[in-house]
Symmetry: C2
Subunit: 221 residues, 2 copies
């Protein structure tokens, strides 16, 4: 029984990591499809959302089964409920990737507003946060999780900087308002990816320390 329980928990962690890698790849490919103007890649991001969605359902079912059959206590219970929350955040990261992919064919109708340098950088930061948030979950690494909370601010700064820059383009040339506006939405999507990574990091800290830091360290989201 004890060994079976440990195996089920291990499988839950593995599936969550797999879901995380799918979500991270979706964000990465969505931004790449935007930068390279690759509508085929954008379409593949939209198609692969189905796999993320099925995995979310499967993971939720595993969680319910573990809660019902194993009647877990203390440490395991906090791990399992954290997994349930992380699952929801990962699915929403997949949604953000789809939102970005959906912009690609629209943006291709317009001349490029500006070189795409900051958006891939913002994406790289957000993807790294997702990856490390899941690492911190598996390793129960509170220090790593705390670092993620700090990195969220860098992403927010980058979003503000890009926003100010895009606004100046809009003011100079009203013809770029539509595509520039769409790009600001892409930066908001990436910011939300980073927010979800932050949520995961907070869940990890709560899981390990049993204390709720959600509304102390990072009150503003």
């Amino acid at each position: 029984m004890e060994r079976h329980r440990e195996q089920e928990l291990q499988e839950l962690r593995q599936r969550l990591l797999w879901m995380g890698s799918l979500a991270e790849r979706a964000v990465h490919n969505a931004v790449r499809s935007l930068v390279e103007g690759d509508t085929k890649l954008a379409e593949s991001v939209m198609e692969e959302e189905a796999a993320i969605n099925s995995l979310q359902i499967e993971i939720d079912e595993r969680v319910l089964r573990l809660l019902a059959l194993q009647q877990p206590m203390a440490v395991d219970l906090r791990m399992i409920t954290a997994a349930m929350k992380i699952n929801a955040d990962l699915e929403r990261i997949g949604d953000q990737a789809v939102n970005i992919a959906q912009c690609v064919s629209f943006l291709l109708q317009y001349p490029q507003v500006k070189p795409y340098i900051d958006i891939p950088r913002m994406s790289e930061l957000a993807e790294g946060m997702v990856k490390d948030a899941l690492d911190s979950f598996v390793k129960r690494d509170v220090d790593l999780a705390k670092q993620i909370l700090l990195r969220d601010e860098t992403v927010d700064q980058l979003r503000d900087q890009l926003f100010r820059e895009l606004i100046t383009y809009m003011m100079e040339r009203p013809s770029v308002i539509l595509p520039a506006f769409q790009l600001t939405l892409v930066t908001r999507n990436l910011e939300r990816v980073a927010d979800h990574a932050t949520n995961i990091a907070e869940d990890v800290i709560y899981m390990v320390l049993g204390q709720d830091i959600r509304h102390h360290a990072s009150d503003k989201r």
Copy 2:
């Protein structure tokens, strides 16, 4: 024991309803502060976020206690895990209200871009969705929950309509780009309130029917 369990579940529902009414009021007051240019009311929305945040922590602790001490089965288990997810959605509705309230003093620096008619209407729709989503949770009313999924589309349409209108203002007068852009962000915040209500409705349907409709009825968010 049985009676104690029922009482604890009842208290959990009550606290969740209370949290819902705080979140709904926050959205309502945030939009009212925008429409009336009332910075004091906007500040009160930001201050009252603390109450929502404390309640979220309290509800999460109740959930963990119920899972650990009562070792619930089947129906109760699905109710408790739904409560945990709904709790997270309500907290994020509170975040959206704060985002809106934070726009108020910025917008007051500019002449009003357009009459605020559609934004209160959009808010009213989103608030009604939150209220009914919680009603459907308490009454285990699947039909009501399903209606909410449909209403989400009306909110999205209203957002698109407002967006197109604001874009025409921006193109005609570059001086309104900043405030008009800010207003489009307000509509996105309200859209996200409606999205969270939709998440809650989906959790209710899953709770009652035990089937996952999240990725069938409303694939696009």
